[in-house]
């Protein structure tokens, strides 16, 4: 049976931003549709409207010519619209089966039979009786998909499903999705990864700033054309010049171990690496494999043995972040809003968080506000932060501008080494480009970078050497030219 889903003139307005501006789209079963756009383009709002999480201000949704009233996620489920969110909604300590039966009205026995049939049909192999926390990200996602399939959906919406998957898991997912599509399920695939769109989808709708920009068939598009539609400008392609091979060692990590008392953290096992001046070492991996712990050990938030970290011929393993800054290290953590900056504080107050010695931000224990403000103005102009009001609370900066402020705050001391963790996570293409250019510039000034990132393309673009972290262990360090994203994917999955 054919399914036809129509979105007609949907508008959703938030204070200060039009999330969806008169969007009309039509989908038919048998095809896989991509909904493409940068962060903040409005694609999440649109699919949340389809799944009943958000109620639109104006506009209508039709499924097979029936006008749907979607006032809650339950309404969407009743109308055979299934959605797999980017973040899993599973109870970690309950078993797979318990998670599936929670929102089902079926009897245990018949449900189990149904799940078994689904798993056999699509070649899923998951033990239904083990707790969710023992599953990999890919398996958890399959549980979410099964949860949708139980209800025989007509429409399946996937929101950025590959952000936590390895390359192998991703291709498995794609195979499943194609199979679903053949069976007549209408699939809407939300992403900002262009490569995936080209691989998987038949048609693509591009959104920008709440508006629908274009709808086209994949065969008429290529990566560049889609990127340009997404950003609305011709992208400069950044290419890193190959670094001069320097043998001047800047930082050396020797036999570094970290054992956490928190069961949700990852232990670091025998970390050894070194970075030369002017070099960028990329550390790849799927999130949750020890990146956060590694960053904290390198920044000094977690203190280790004095001799385990040698920086510029000093042993600094036992120093805290502020003391390490005095040796000209700088840090840009992953979490902009909860760690790198305090959204409720003003811009210049956030600048004062990097209180290096020569800053004179604080004299004799007193705040030197003029000095901090002067410095903040310099950062704002040098690093293109789009505001001129340093009294503004940082929560009113966009993600990109906040990240520029943070990177600027860290770099204005011209440190020898910048350690950054997912520096472009969640940013739009313009801001990503800016950050990438900045990072390349640092290398050109013979300064070094340790780039911990879950974005493989970013790593391949910026790194001179790459290593992969998996379950707290680093792989051997490879030259970036010898590495392909497929190879990284295999290492990220834990194979040798």
């Amino acid at each position: 049976m054919n399914t036809n889903l129509k979105i007609s003139n949907v508008t959703k307005i938030y204070p200060g931003c039009v999330a969806n501006d008169n969007v009309s789209l039509e989908f038919n079963s048998g095809k896989i549709y991509a909904l493409l756009g940068e962060n903040g383009a409005g694609k999440s709002t649109l699919v949340k409207i389809l799944s009943g999480v958000i109620i639109p201000d104006e506009g209508k949704i039709y499924l097979n010519e029936n006008n749907l009233k979607l006032n809650s996620p339950l309404d969407a489920k009743k109308n055979d619209i299934g959605m797999v969110f980017q973040h899993f909604n599973l109870f970690e300590t309950l078993s797979v089966f318990e998670n599936l039966i929670i929102d089902s009205d079926e009897q245990r026995e018949s449900l189990r039979e149904k799940i078994d049939t689904i798993m056999k049909k699509y070649n899923f192999s998951i033990d239904l009786d083990i707790p969710i926390l023992n599953l990999s990200a890919g398996q958890k996602q399959k549980v979410e998909i099964i949860r949708c399939l139980i209800r025989n959906p007509k429409v399946l919406i996937m929101d950025e499903p590959t952000s936590v998957l390895t390359e192998q898991e991703t291709s498995e997912l794609f195979l499943s999705l194609k199979k679903f599509s053949e069976e007549g399920i209408l699939i809407i695939y939300i992403t900002h990864k262009l490569k995936e769109v080209m691989q998987l989808c038949d048609e693509v709708a591009v959104m920008r700033r709440g508006k629908l920009v274009s709808v086209s068939e994949i065969k008429n598009e290529n990566i560049e054309s889609l990127a340009n539609k997404m950003v609305g400008q011709n992208l400069k392609t950044i290419k890193k010049k190959k670094a001069k091979t320097s043998s001047d060692q800047l930082i050396k990590i020797t036999n570094l171990n970290f054992t956490s008392e928190d069961p949700f953290e990852t232990n670091l096992i025998d970390i050894n690496f070194s970075v030369n001046r002017g070099e960028c070492l990329g550390i790849a991996g799927i999130s949750g494999n020890g990146q956060s712990e590694l960053f904290q050990v390198l920044s000094g938030e977690i203190i280790s043995e004095k001799n385990s970290i040698e920086f510029n011929n000093n042993y600094i393993g036992d120093l805290n972040p502020q003391e390490r800054r005095e040796y000209l290290m700088a840090f840009s953590p992953e979490d902009r809003l909860e760690q790198a900056a305090i959204p409720q504080m003003k811009i210049f107050e956030n600048v004062a968080l990097n209180n290096f010695k020569s800053s004179n931000f604080f004299n004799n224990g007193l705040i030197n506000e003029n000095k901090i403000k002067e410095h903040s103005k310099k950062i704002i102009s040098d690093f293109n932060v789009n505001t001129d009001n340093i009294e503004l609370k940082s929560q009113f900066l966009s993600g990109g501008n906040l990240q520029k402020l943070i990177i600027g705050r860290e770099l204005i001391t011209s440190p020898d080494l910048l350690i950054c963790f997912n520096p472009t996570w969640g940013l739009d293409v313009g801001a990503i480009n800016y950050i990438h250019e900045t990072l390349i510039k640092i290398n050109e000034q013979n300064k070094s970078i340790i780039l911990i990132s879950t974005d493989t393309d970013e790593l391949l673009k910026l790194s001179d050497k790459i290593s992969v972290i998996h379950k707290g262990k680093l792989s051997k360090i490879m030259n970036a030219e010898e590495v392909t994203s497929e190879k990284l994917g295999i290492l990220m999955g834990g194979a040798n």
């Binding site: 204070p15 938030e301 972040p321 760690q339 900056a341 004062a352 968080l353 209180n355 705040i367």
Partner: protein
């Protein structure tokens, strides 16, 4: 039709307006309650809020009650601004009073200028010690400071009870549950003949100035602020976040302890069972009504102090139970929290849609 819209940015004008609105609503609701009880609302409110402070003596009493409230609230503002929910100031006040009272009793037959400073210091240290318990348990054992600090209030009150009935009770006191009177050297000097207002008010004013300076002008204050918003950020900046938590508790405990000293070496002059009419709890209301800002806290402590006095006059002249005072305190907090909704949302009146 009325529509509620989220504000893009909390309004600064509303920030200072809501406490005033809360007080106004309290008066309206209070009048209503009096009316239901069968009193003339305006007359009752007059007895409650105007009569008590109409003369010199009343004004002195107002300052007398406002002093501990202000002092404790200043201390609490350090905790609350850094997201540490110390609600056990009453216990810290009591324990401070116990320690300073104990020291004062040691000197009960002696006179000397050095006695008072020692007694005051002992009170501050006592409050700090007592506040350090929830602080250390919170930072090193992840306990909830709300529970610990609250429960410790009752512990300290029972310790006080035991002491004034048992070992410290006045040998010549016919078994009344109270200690000896302190010597004059251990008492805070009175400011005016015939009025009860004493030098403790200068402690409160000093606390106001110092807290403003520390919180807004020093590196220490900046670190406390950052640690309060996010311990992760504090760690990343290289601050000692845990020490900051302990420090704000110590400051808060010291202020509460000083308030306790002010009570026992001021109007009371000895230790007995009821040294504080729940100043430590009421100061929580004062701190929030004053928007955690030193100047705001001065005004808030005066407003809330009136409810204490008003309850007494209302009891005397109108035979209304003095607990009405607590009803008013409760209403102030209730309306303040309710009107804080306006900080983040605005109410729009829009025409009926056809």
């Amino acid at each position: 039709m009325i529509k509620i819209v989220k504000r893009d940015q909390p309004s600064r004008a509303i920030f200072f307006f809501t406490p005033v609105l809360a007080i106004f609503l309290t008066l309206v609701a209070g009048g209503l309650i009096f009316f239901i009880l069968g009193f003339k609302p305006f007359e009752a409110l007059k007895f409650f809020f105007i009569v008590p402070i109409a003369d010199k003596y009343g004004f002195s009493e107002l300052l007398l009650k406002a002093t501990p409230l202000c002092l404790i609230a200043i201390g609490l503002s350090f905790c609350f601004k850094s997201n540490n929910w110390n609600i056990g100031a009453e216990g810290q006040l009591t324990f401070g009073a116990i320690v300073s009272g104990g020291v004062a009793l040691l000197f009960y037959e002696q006179e000397g200028f050095y006695i008072l400073p020692i007694v005051i210091l002992a009170g501050a240290i006592g409050g700090m010690l007592y506040a350090s318990i929830p602080a250390i348990l919170k930072t090193y054992f992840n306990t909830n400071e709300i529970l610990v600090s609250l429960m410790l209030v009752y512990v300290s009150k029972l310790i006080l009870d035991y002491l004034v009935v048992g070992p410290w009770s006045n040998p010549e006191g016919f078994n009344f549950p109270e200690t000896r009177q302190f010597s004059d050297s251990a008492k805070l000097p009175l400011l005016f003949e015939g009025l009860r207002i004493h030098a403790g008010i200068f402690l409160a004013l000093a606390a106001v100035v110092i807290s403003w300076f520390v919180f807004y002008k020093t590196y220490l204050g900046f670190q406390m602020k950052v640690s309060g918003f996010s311990l992760k950020t504090a760690k990343y900046a290289g601050y000692k976040g845990k020490k900051m938590i302990i420090l704000v508790f110590l400051i808060s405990g010291a202020c509460a302890g000083l308030a306790g000293v002010g009570e026992i070496t001021g109007p009371i002059g000895q230790l007995h069972r009821e040294i504080s009419p729940d100043y430590g709890f009421t100061a929580i209301i004062v701190a929030f009504l004053g928007r955690l800002h030193p100047v705001g806290i001065i005004f808030a402590s005066l407003v809330v102090a009136i409810t204490y006095l008003g309850a007494e006059t209302a009891q005397i002249f109108m035979q209304i139970p003095k607990y009405t005072g607590q009803v008013f305190q409760g209403m102030i907090l209730f309306f303040l929290l309710a009107s804080d909704y306006l900080l983040f949302f605005k109410i729009k009146f829009i025409g009926l849609k056809k």
